[in-house]
Symmetry: C2
Subunit: 570 residues, 2 copies
C-alpha cells in the first residue's frame, strides 16, 4: 500500500479527553475517531489491525472445531425473561421498543440467543459436543464510557458457546479452548496470563480470565512466584494462616478514643500497628439482615468473596450510619465484636490475633489487649473474606504471591446448566431420555485487544506493534524521492519486490521531509523500517531500523528481502 | 470440510410463514434461522455464502480505491438533527435513549456519520477525491418484516461514500462505481440490470439501482427492446403520445350512471373501453390544497412522479371522501374536469382523448362524448403522471418498453451537497476558499443479495448456486462408504486431492443413504457433485453430476481434478 492511496490520519495533539496511553495513541495514530461518548469509528489503519485480531482468532476457533454463526444484535426481551436476566441485568443493558411497542435489547452477550438456537437445532446426543462462535458487534450502555475502545458502548467480541452431554465433555472443550486462547494470545505476540476468575453475571462454577499484562491495567492479578498459580485478585484465595496464636500478655482495657474512627486513626492514636487492630464492618444483606464482618486491620474486604458465602442473601451493601446506630446503639467507628448483637463472620486473618484493639460498642471507646477465648469466643463462622496482598502464601502451597496489573481480554466459563435448564434446552440421550445440555462460553474482546496491545507495547514515540498485529510489517521510506529519478525507480522496484515476497509493506510516497515520515511510521508503530536514499544507492545499500531500536543498520539492497524475512520469522 | 464436522441443518418441512421461495429454501437448506420477526441468525452454511458476497464486494471496492472503515451502528440524534432527517425519517428509524436519556438511533444508513467524519478529517482539496466504505450491520424497523432476509429488521450492507471538489470528480467516481457494481454482480454470476432510479429519501439528482432479475421481484423494471434504456418503473418516463386528436363525432351527453363509480364499472356499464374514459383522482398536498389529477382510464397513477412536480407541497395523499364531497359537492365516483373548482394537472395520455367519458360532478351522472376545446379547455398543466406499461415507446426513442421484475440489491446516488451543505462539510480549495464538498453514496444489500441470488437460481429440488457464491464448489458423495474399506480409502484420498487442488469441497462422510445425501446436496445447491462408489472403483471411475443437469457422467478417477477445474473455470 502507498500512503498516497492509503492516507494516514496521524495528528500531533494529545486529545484532551484521552487519559490512557492506548486511547491517546489510537487517536494520534489515526486508528479511531470518536463519534460520541463510547462510540468510535475505526479508520482504515485501525481496521487493518482489528481484522488481524479477528483473523487469528477465527483461525484458532476453526482449529478447535468451532462453527461460525452470526446472530442478531437486536434480541427480543422474551428470551431474557426466560433466564430472568431481563430483570437482573442493570442499566448497562441497552433496551428499546420496536414500533409495535415490543421490548428488545442490544445484546451485550448472546447466551439466551444461542441457547434458543441450540434447543431448536440440537435433538440428539449424537450432535454433541458442538461449539458455535461468532465475531460480532456488542453493546453495553456504560455509565461512564472511557479509555477509548477499552470501555466503549459498542465493541466487537468473539463469543463462543459449547453444548455438551455432560461435565466430562464440557471439561474437554473447556481445556481445548483454554489451549486455543493461549495459542491466540501467543500468536498476537503479547505477554499475558490466564488466571482463575470469578464468573460474575455470566454465571457458572469455573472460569478463567486472560489478561494482557500492562501497568495501566484495570485488574489486579495475583501470581505465585514459584508455581503456575494465577488468579484475579477478586478470586485469589487468602489461605488459613499458619502458626499458633500468642498467649495474652496484658489485661483487657477500655480506652477513650475521642474522634478516632478509622483503623488508621486508631493505629496512630494508640501507636499500635494496623495489623494489631480488628476491623469490624457492618453490611446489609438483600433480606435486610445486618452482618458484622471482622478482618485484621491492615487487610481489605473483598466484597466478591463475601457475597459468595453460602446462605448470604446477595447483594451485600454497607449498612448506613443510621442502620448501624439503630442496631448497635453506637456510631460506626467504635463497633467491635464484644457483646455485639448481630451475627459475625470473621476473616481467617483474625484467628491468630492476640492482644488486639477493637471497638468497644460505645461511642469513642475501644478495647485494647483483646484476646480470643479469654474476652470473647473465637468466631464460629470463619471465611476467606479479604483481598490477598503481595507476600501472601500462594494457595497452591508453592511460593508466595506477587501482584501485577492486567487488562482482561478473554474470559472462559463453565456455565453448566444455568441457561440450558432455565430455557429447557435439552436433547435425547443414549438412553432415550430428555436431558438438559451442559454449556460453556468463551469470549475475547476483539476491539479491546487492540487497545490492550498498545498499553503493553508503546514508548514516547508511539505504538510498537508485535509483527502479527502490525497494520503493515514493513515501512519503506524513501528520502527526498521527488528529487531523484534514480531513487524513485529504485524505491519503486524495492516496493514491488517486497510485495512480490509477500511482505505487507507501506510505501511512504508522500512528498514530506524524512523526519516527518519517520515520526509517522514510529507513531503508527510499524515494526520494521527500510530507509532508501540516493547516497545509499551509490553503494547499493539501504538502512534498516527496527521500531524497538534507536540504531540503523546498513543492509545491501540485494540482501534486504531475505534480511527482512528473517526478522519477520524471528 | 466434512459433514461430520460441519453439520448440515437441512429440514424437510416448508416453514409456514415463509411465502417466497428464497425464504423457504434458506430455512430448508439451513442457511438461516428466525430469532424473531425480521431477525435471523446466520448458520455456518449461510455465513459461508454471506462471506463470499462480502469478499467479492470488498475486492472490487479496493480496486476503485475505496478505504474501508467501520462506523458505529449506534448514532447520536444530534447529527440527524443537523440534516433534518431525525424529524423526517419515519418509524422505520429504530430510536432509543441511553441511560442518560440522550437520543440515539440504530443506523439504517450512515450519511450523517460519514459526513461528520469527513468534515473533521478532510481539510484540503489535495485530500480529494476520497471514497470510504464499510460492510456493516444496519437496522430498519420495518412495519411488516417479511421474505426472510430480503426485508428484515437487521441486515448487512456495504455502504460507500465519496467526497469531491466538484461534480466532474463526482461523476468520475460515480462512473467507476457503476462499473465496479457491474463487475461485482457479474462476478456473483447473476443476471441483473442497472436501471435509472428515483433517489427516494436518500436524496440527490441522479441515481441508479442494480436489480437481480427474478419473477418474484418486488420491483418492476422497464427495459427498451432495442436499446440500453432501463429504469425502475417508478422512474420510467411515459413520453408525450404521438399523433393528433380525433375530431368529435357526437354531442356531449349527460348520462345516468347509478352506482357506477370505478372506471371498470363505468366502462362495463357503458360498453366503452377503459382507454376511452377519463380518470379523475383528487389528492391532497401537504399544504392541504386539493388537486385533480387526470389520467386515461386504463393507466395507473405513479405517485412518485406526481410528487416530483415542481411547486407541489409533498407528500401527496388521496383526499378522503368527505374532503372530496366538501370541495366538489359530489361523491368521488362521479368527479370530472368539466366545471371542477380545484386545480387540474393532466397526464400526457389524456391529450389525445376524444369522445371520452368522464364524471359529471353530479352524483351518479357521467358525461359521454366529451371533447377538449369544444366542451372544456385542454388542461394547461400537463405532466408525466402515469406508470408505463409494456408496449409504451422507450423514452430514448429506440424500441418499446417491456416490463420485468427485479430485486433491488444495489443503489448508487449522486448526492451533490445535500448532506455536506447541511453539515457544513467543506475543505479549503485551490483558491484558498472554503468550499462545501460534493458527495456520492453507493450501497449493496449484502445479506439481501443471498436471498436474491436464490430467487433467481432455484428449482423444485432446491438452490442452484452460481459457483462464485456456492458455500462449497464441489460435493463429494461416497456411496455406502461405511461398508467398504477400499471405498473409504479412495474417497478419503480423493478428498485430500481435491483440497490440495484448492477446490472447496464438502465431503459427505455421514452414514446416510445415497439418496438422502444427494437430496441434501441438491437442496443446499452445491454446483458440482462427485459420486464415488465401490462399483466405479473397479473401473477406476467416478460419476459427475452438475446441479443443473439430471444426467450423470462417468469420469476416470485420474482425470477428475482437471475435469472439475475446467468446470469451475467455465
Amino acid at each position: 500500500m502507498r500512503t498516497s492511496q492509503f492516507p494516514l490520519n496521524t495528528v500531533k495533539e494529545i486529545p484532551a479527553d484521552a487519559v490512557v496511553v492506548s486511547h491517546q495513541l489510537m487517536l494520534r495514530a489515526g486508528l479511531i475517531r470518536k463519534l460520541a461518548a463510547g462510540l468510535y469509528t475505526w479508520l482504515p489503519l485501525g481496521l487493518r489491525i482489528l481484522r488481524k485480531v479477528e483473523k487469528i482468532t477465527r483461525e484458532e476457533m476453526e482449529k478447535v472445531g468451532g462453527l461460525e454463526v452470526l446472530m442478531p444484535a437486536l434480541q427480543p426481551a422474551e428470551l431474557w425473561q426466560e433466564t430472568g436476566r431481563w430483570e437482573k441485568y442493570g442499566p448497562e443493558l441497552a433496551r428499546l421498543k420496536d414500533r409495535h411497542d415490543r421490548d428488545f435489547c442490544l445484546g451485550p452477550t448472546h447466551e439466551e440467543i444461542i441457547t434458543d438456537l441450540a434447543r431448536n437445532e440440537l435433538k440428539s446426543y449424537k450432535q454433541l459436543p458442538v461449539t458455535y462462535y461468532q465475531i460480532q458487534t456488542k453493546f453495553r450502555d456504560e455509565i461512564r464510557p472511557r479509555f477509548g475502545v477499552m470501555r466503549s458502548r459498542e465493541f466487537i467480541m468473539k463469543d463462543a458457546y459449547s453444548f455438551h452431554l455432560d461435565q466430562v465433555s464440557l471439561q474437554e472443550t473447556y481445556d481445548a479452548m483454554y489451549q486455543a486462547y493461549t495459542t491466540i494470545f501467543n500468536r498476537f505476540g503479547l505477554t499475558f496470563r490466564a488466571v482463575v476468575a470469578d464468573s460474575g453475571s455470566i454465571g457458572g462454577a469455573i472460569s478463567h480470565e486472560f489478561h494482557v499484562l500492562a501497568d495501566s491495567g484495570e485488574d489486579a492479578i495475583a501470581f505465585s512466584t514459584e508455581s503456575a498459580y494465577a488468579a484475579n485478585i477478586e478470586k485469589a484465595e487468602a489461605i488459613r494462616p499458619e502458626g499458633v496464636r500468642n498467649l495474652p500478655t496484658d489485661e483487657l482495657t477500655l480506652i477513650d478514643t475521642p474522634n478516632q474512627h478509622s483503623i488508621e486513626e486508631i493505629s496512630d492514636f494508640l501507636s499500635v500497628p494496623a495489623s494489631q487492630c480488628l476491623k469490624t464492618l457492618i453490611v446489609k444483606a438483600e433480606d435486610d439482615g445486618l452482618l458484622a464482618l471482622l478482618l485484621r486491620g491492615d487487610y481489605e474486604l473483598n466484597p466478591i468473596k463475601a457475597e459468595k458465602i453460602a446462605g448470604i442473601a446477595v447483594p451485600l451493601t454497607f449498612a448506613s450510619d443510621a442502620e448501624i446506630i439503630d442496631a448497635c446503639q453506637c456510631k460506626p467507628g467504635s463497633i467491635g465484636p464484644i457483646g455485639l448483637k448481630i451475627p459475625i463472620i470473621a476473616d481467617r486473618s483474625v484467628m491468630l490475633l492476640s492482644d488486639f484493639v477493637c471497638g468497644a460498642n460505645q461511642n469513642d471507646k475501644h478495647y485494647a489487649h483483646v484476646n480470643w477465648e479469654r474476652d470473647l469466643p473465637l468466631p464460629v463462622h470463619i471465611e476467606d473474606l479479604r483481598t490477598v496482598v503481595a507476600g501472601d502464601p500462594s494457595p497452591d502451597g508453592h511460593g508466595t504471591l506477587t501482584i501485577a496489573r492486567g487488562i482482561e481480554v478473554g474470559h472462559i466459563f463453565q456455565l453448566g446448566t444455568k441457561y440450558s435448564a432455565a430455557m429447557k434446552a435439552g436433547i435425547i440421550n443414549e438412553a432415550g431420555k430428555h436431558q438438559i445440555m451442559t454449556m460453556g462460553c468463551y469470549g475475547i474482546g476483539i476491539s479491546r485487544l487492540v487497545a490492550a496491545a498498545i498499553e503493553q507495547n508503546n514508548d514516547e514515540r508511539g505504538i510498537i506493534w508485535p509483527t502479527a498485529l502490525a497494520p503493515f510489517q514493513v515501512a519503506l521510506c524513501p528520502m527526498n524521492m521527488h528529487k531523484s529519478d534514480r531513487l524513485k525507480e529504485a524505491a519503486e522496484q524495492l516496493y514491488q519486490d517486497l510485495l512480490a515476497a509477500g511482505i505487507e509493506v507501506l510505501f511512504d510516497d508522500r512528498k514530506v521531509r524524512a523526519g516527518f515520515m519517520f515520526s509517522d511510521m514510529e507513531l503508527i508503530g510499524i515494526p520494521h523500517c527500510i530507509i532508501i536514499g540516493d547516497r545509499g544507492l551509490d553503494s547499493q545499500t539501504v538502512e534498516y531500523k527496527a521500531r524497538t531500536s534507536q540504531d540503523n543498520e546498513e543492509v545491501p539492497l540485494d540482501n534486504i528481502i531475505s534480511f527482512l524475512k528473517e526478522k519477520l520469522e524471528a
